[in-house]
């Protein structure tokens, strides 16, 4: 069973200007001291079209982790606007928080993010070239989408066995009616079928 479970992720300073850093306050519980650090990542999905535009905003090691409840604030700089396709700058996209242990992702928390111009004029007539300084980022904090994956928490057990343990019966039933926004791993997605950090569910 999972040694670490995420209790809560609080989105701090939301909404905020596009260029201000992301801040998440993450509380998690660990039921057995971990031998190694957890690795947390914030991934900004630049475009729904392709994962090429995904930006890993930051990755951070968290440790040591004894048994107990812990919290920390994960702060990462805003995405680099130059890597975002102009057509996708305004509108709804996704930010992901993932956590891995020994390189295996066991939880993925996804939030819808809405980037909008604050002023009504700009909203009415958005400039052809997006003006990131005028954009406001609003994370839909009340509706996180959480996907948990079973991973091998012990060193001694074979990695193979861990994969074998995963129930493959449900693996193919990935919904076709998946929202056009990708990356929100839906319950039922099997990590074994997805490359690491894959953003595509369909």
């Amino acid at each position: 069973m999972a040694k670490v479970s995420v209790l809560n992720v609080a989105v701090l300073e939301n909404p905020s200007p596009f260029h201000s850093p992301f801040r998440f306050e993450i509380s998690f519980e660990c039921n057995e001291a971990l031998a190694d650090d957890l690795e947390w990542k914030i991934i900004y999905v630049g475009s729904a079209e392709s994962e090429e535009f995904d930006q890993i905003l930051d990755s951070v090691l968290v440790g040591p982790v004894p048994a107990g409840r812990h919290m920390f604030v994960f702060q990462a700089d805003a995405p680099n606007p130059s890597l975002i396709p102009e057509t996708d700058a305004v509108g709804v996209t996704v930010v992901l928080i993932t956590c891995t242990y020994h390189g295996q992702e066991f939880i993925r928390v996804g939030y819808y993010v809405n980037n909008e111009y604050l002023s009504p004029e700009l909203r009415e007539n958005p400039p052809l070239k997006p003006d990131f300084s005028q954009l406001q980022r609003n994370i839909l904090a009340s509706n996180p989408r959480v996907t948990r994956f079973h991973i091998n928490w012990d060193n001694n057990m074979d990695r193979l066995e861990a994969i074998e343990n995963q129930d493959s019966a449900l693996g193919c039933s990935l919904p076709l009616s998946c929202t056009p926004i990708k990356g929100l791993g839906l319950p039922g997605c099997i990590p074994g079928l997805l490359p690491e950090n894959s953003m595509d569910c369909i």
């Binding site: 069973m1 995420v6 992720v9 306050e25 509380s27 090691l61 107990g68």
Partner: protein, 994 residues
């Protein structure tokens, strides 16, 4: 009740009847759900949105959960699944998150259940798990063809792996008196195993010869009176049956016939019934009988009484798919049945239909008459059925119950209330700082470093410790604390409304309520009733008339763990070996008395030791008379429970300091002790120390405080859990020590002062014969180690004292650098060897065969701590050495004897009992009659006690005759000792009748 549409493989009702667990297939994992029982029992609660239906769900199993079982005490839930794992769950004590993060609000977890152990051993799906009647063992069976017996007191220790099945093992059941465990497998056999040696008792194959095909489970069951074992899937004349196997000779003459497809599950009602006495008709007592529910692949359920030839009721097509598991309520009137189709049905019966349930007392009387009173487990069963006799206790129970019933309502007061509640409770943990404050500053405060490769690394802030900790400790300590358990002590009947418990008013016995919906199991479609055959099950749960006479289990582990049964008032200082030590008789009186024993002159041996004396102490060479003195100051408190015999008590703060009243006994024993220049503390200006046994306690000393007029005083300050006290002393303080009960300080000029936990001076300053070296406190005892003492232990060698400890009973224990440990015996005035890491006896002794399964793991205490791992080596000895049997027998004997003696010397009653029982088992199995007889004689004592008798009726706080009672079943195992057995038994009976 809601279903998740996926198969439910298992259902089990909590012993307190307030909740039940289901196990089965979840979304992408196995799933365990804990449900509230009251919405099932009561329509009002079902409709009431404020009454939670689902209490907790656990998705932690990687694959389908095949079995969920509550421990008999209700503290734990065990689940086994296709992921080859068994998980043991315990309710988390602090308020956890109200929802699973990321799930919608509906899936709120009202209760938090935490996995405390994961048991890994099986190489295939775990099909069934079962707790032994006394909760000390957990058995699991698997498609890997084995049954594993786990030590439930010390997970994940495995006591035995039962091999012998040649097919998938799919069901388990314990004999209600704990003598056997039975398993049924796909290999067309049912095997019965002895718990004494975990060997096969019998294998039954004939009724299963015709069995073809497979069922998912084969849940067999043992009748509560122990007479019958009923199998799942058997065949008789090509018809599926449930085979009845008689305990007597394992005969297979009867079966339950009628199901059209294989029987998957059999479950006996936990109650034994007797026919209702009809008013006016004959009062001839009818034979007690049992009730059994049988579920089958044919989707029907039948309920049988062992006194009837035909089933009491058959309910056809209760489900759309096979029945997978059945669970009775503890009062025996309700039954939950789960199915592969993903639904669970509840049926209830009236007492008119089933009969009058016997009280637990009557039940244990049946066990007694059938299996004899000598069975170890029986005594436990008897204890567990103690009747609550006084009204205060009853009222207390009732209050507890009320609280229990308020519980769910309060918990459901709304998510916001719950959230704030959890926030504040967590905040309390973090040094009084509120969670809000922490959160505000978290980003600034959190420690961030760079790893060698330049990556950011954040050290998370720990906001709460987990309450997992030591499994066994939690297991024992938390039982009496649990509110829910306490609340159920009286009411096994779990009637949701308060049962009338007032002893003055007769309990109304109403079976007159109209029979509402007989089958309350809400199916997915909601078509609850209207199935054929349903009409036979009737009536709402009636409050049992036997509420007052059938209290259910009180602290189920009580009898099992001798630490609870231990007679708390050991007379300290009373030498257990009094006859050997006429010189050192110490009798404690109620008033204070200080008695000094002349240190024995042990100088003779030191002539050659001087030459060998290490260079480290040249200064003291001429001074041959070194002395270490041990003072035992004890304040006896009446009725103070000795909770545990560990060295460091975990919670001595239970006692209010006010309890330290006048009556205290002080014993001072001078001890001849090590010939070693001990380190001496010098005067310091000020110092602070933290008490190791109680980290919240600090002692601060400030010397030479000017008090004006040229006067100098020393100030002693002690703070504990926010409470502080101060006092002043005339001389400079050299060293100090404290425990939850006392604080003592050593001053210049060899003065020792002792204060109570609140700072009251308990004794006038004691003038010690020589300067002090070390102080140490445990509970109410103080050990003072002083320079100048002599003893053969340390003389002439270069050993050093590595540690000095004080047990809870005030026995000083000294560890030396060479791995030996000695304890001081006040009665003998000597240091006695209790542990030796190089002890060859310990390494050769093999007493595995004598290890009593349920005791093996309970051996913890000062002796175990002192000896560390060494004490377990005996179990492996046979594998490590090939020693001739006679030699091994002798070494084992000698080793066990020294263990018994050491436990006695340490006054560790629990360990004494453990080793004595082990020793007795060994004597019995190897046939040492004289030694055995001598033990029995001492334990029994004179039957006709004369006033001049020297016999002590207790040893280290245990009643000798109680010990003998425990020994009897052991003795009875070897027919050679039949006579001894009968003698002791008769004399004990005689004594009891007197």
């Amino acid at each position: 009740m809601p279903t998740w549409g996926k198969p439910i493989f298992s259902v089990d009702i909590h012993p307190d009847g307030t909740k039940f667990a289901t196990g089965g297939q979840g979304q992408d994992s196995g799933k365990v759900v804990i449900w509230n029982m009251s919405p099932v029992l009561q329509e009002d609660d079902e409709k009431d949105e404020n009454v939670p239906k689902m209490l907790c769900q656990m998705d932690n199993h990687l694959a389908c959960v095949n079995c969920v079982r509550w421990s008999n005490g209700g503290m734990y839930l065990a689940s086994g699944g296709d992921d080859k794992l068994i998980m043991v769950w315990k309710r988390a004590t602090y308020i956890g998150p109200s929802t699973v993060f990321g799930s919608s609000g509906k899936l709120a977890n009202v209760e938090q259940w935490r996995c405390v152990s994961i048991l890994r051993s099986h190489s295939g799906d775990v099909m069934d798990v079962a707790w032994s009647p006394h909760d000390a063992w957990l058995a699991s069976c698997s498609v890997d063809n084995t049954v594993v017996i786990w030590n439930a007191v010390k997970f994940p220790e495995i006591l035995a792996t039962l091999r012998g099945h040649s097919g998938l093992v799919k069901g388990l059941t314990w004999d209600p008196v704990g003598k056997y465990i039975a398993s049924q497998a796909d290999d067309r056999s049912l095997k019965v195993w002895r718990t004494l040696d975990w060997q096969l008792e019998t294998s039954i194959t004939k009724p299963f010869d015709e069995c073809g095909g497979t069922t998912h489970v084969l849940r067999l069951s043992w009748s509560p009176d122990g007479h019958y074992l009923v199998s799942a899937h058997a065949m008789n004349n090509s018809g599926p049956t449930a085979q009845i196997i008689e305990r007597e000779g394992w005969k297979t003459n009867m079966d339950f016939v009628g199901h059209r497809k294989a029987v998957t599950v059999v479950k006996f009602n936990p109650k034994i019934f007797k026919k209702k006495q009809k008013n006016g008709s004959s009062t001839k007592p009818s034979c007690p009988y049992c009730c059994c529910a049988v579920g089958s692949k044919d989707r029907s359920l039948s309920v049988w009484l062992t006194c009837l030839k035909r089933p009491l009721v058959v309910i056809h097509e209760l489900f759309d798919k096979s029945i997978m598991d059945i669970s009775w309520t503890l009062n025996g009137l309700g039954i939950l049945v789960c199915s592969m189709d993903g639904s669970v049905a509840f049926l209830d019966f009236s007492q008119d239909e089933l009969g009058d349930p016997l009280s637990e007392e009557e039940k244990s009387r049946i066990h007694q008459s059938t299996y004899g009173k000598s069975l170890a487990i029986m005594t436990e069963a008897q204890l567990s059925t103690a009747v609550i006799e006084n009204p205060e206790m009853l009222q207390y129970q009732r209050r507890q119950q009320q609280l229990d019933h308020k519980g769910p309502v309060a918990r459901d007061a709304g998510p916001t209330a719950r959230d704030t509640g959890s926030a504040t409770s967590v905040a309390g943990v973090v040094n009084g700082e509120s969670l809000e404050d922490i959160r505000k500053n978290l980003l600034k405060k959190q420690v961030e470093t760079r790893t060698a490769d330049g990556r950011r690394r954040i050290t998370p802030l720990c906001i709460a410790q987990l309450d997992t900790g030591d499994f066994s400790t939690a297991f024992f300590n938390s039982i009496p604390l649990s509110g829910s358990l306490a609340g159920t002590m009286l009411s096994p009947h779990s009637g949701p409304p308060l049962l009338p418990l007032d002893p003055s008013t007769p309990v109304p016995f109403s079976s007159s309520k109209p029979s509402t919906e007989p089958v309350a199991g809400t199916r997915p479609g909601g078509d609850a009733a209207s199935k054929d055959g349903v009409n036979t099950a009737t009536a709402p749960t009636t409050p049992s008339p036997s509420v007052l006479t059938t209290p259910s289990k009180i602290e189920p582990m009580k009898a099992f763990d001798s630490r609870f049964t231990e007679r708390s008032k050991a007379t300290p200082g009373t030498p257990a070996l009094a006859s050997v030590t006429p010189t050192a008789v110490e009798r404690l009186k109620e008033q204070s008395l200080v008695k000094e024993l002349r240190p024995r002159d042990v100088l003779e041996s030191s002539s050659d030791s001087d030459e060998k004396a290490p260079a480290a102490k040249p200064a003291s060479l001429s001074k041959r008379k070194l002395e270490l003195e041990v003072e035992t100051v004890e304040k006896k408190k009446k009725g103070r429970p000795r909770k545990d015999s560990r060295l460091l008590p975990m919670s001595l703060s239970v006692q209010s300091p006010a309890a330290l009243t006048a009556e205290k006994d002080t014993v001072c024993v001078s001890v001849p002790a090590p010939a070693l220049k001990l380190p001496m503390p010098g005067p310091q200006r000020a110092f602070t120390l933290q008490v190791s046994s109680d980290p919240s306690m600090y002692i601060e000393v400030e010397n030479e405080v000017t008090a004006g007029g040229g006067l100098k005083l020393s100030r002693l300050k002690c703070s504990r859990e926010g409470k502080e006290w101060e006092t002043v002393l005339p001389g400079r303080v050299l060293t100090a020590a404290g425990s939850g009960d006392v604080v003592c300080v050593a001053c210049e000029k060899r003065m020792l002062s002792v204060f109570s936990a609140c700072g009251r001076r308990l004794l006038p300053p004691i003038l010690l014969p020589s300067p002090i070296s070390t102080l140490h406190c445990t509970g109410p005892y103080v050990v003072v180690v002083k320079e100048e003492s002599l003893h053969s232990i340390l003389a002439g060698s270069d050993m050093t004292v590595s540690q000095i400890l004080l047990t809870q009973h005030g026995i000083p224990v000294m560890n030396l650098s060479d791995g030996k440990a000695y304890c001081f015996s006040p009665s003998l005035s000597t240091w006695n060897l209790v542990s030796d890491k190089q002890d060859s006896l310990a390494q050769c002794a093999d007493f595995r065969s004598s290890l009593p399964p349920q005791d093996a793991m309970l051996c913890s205490g000062p002796l175990a701590i002192v000896q560390g791992r060494a004490s377990t080596s005996g179990r492996q000895a046979a594998r490590l050495f090939s020693v001739p049997h006679v030699v091994q027998q002798e070494t084992t004997l000698a080793y066990l004897e020294s263990q018994v003696a050491a436990a006695l010397a340490l006054r560790s009653s629990h360990e004494y009992r453990h080793w004595l029982l082990l020793y007795a088992r060994f004597l019995v199995s190897e046939g040492f009659e004289y030694r055995l007889r001598e033990i029995c004689k001492d334990l029994l004592g004179p039957v006709h006690m004369s006033t001049g008798s020297q016999w002590e009726s207790t040893v280290v706080g245990l009643r000798k005759r109680d010990l003998l009672k425990e020994l009897l079943p052991v003795i009875g195992q070897n027919l050679r000792f039949q006579r001894l057995f009968t003698e002791c038994q008769e004399q004990l009976d005689l004594l009891r009748d007197k």
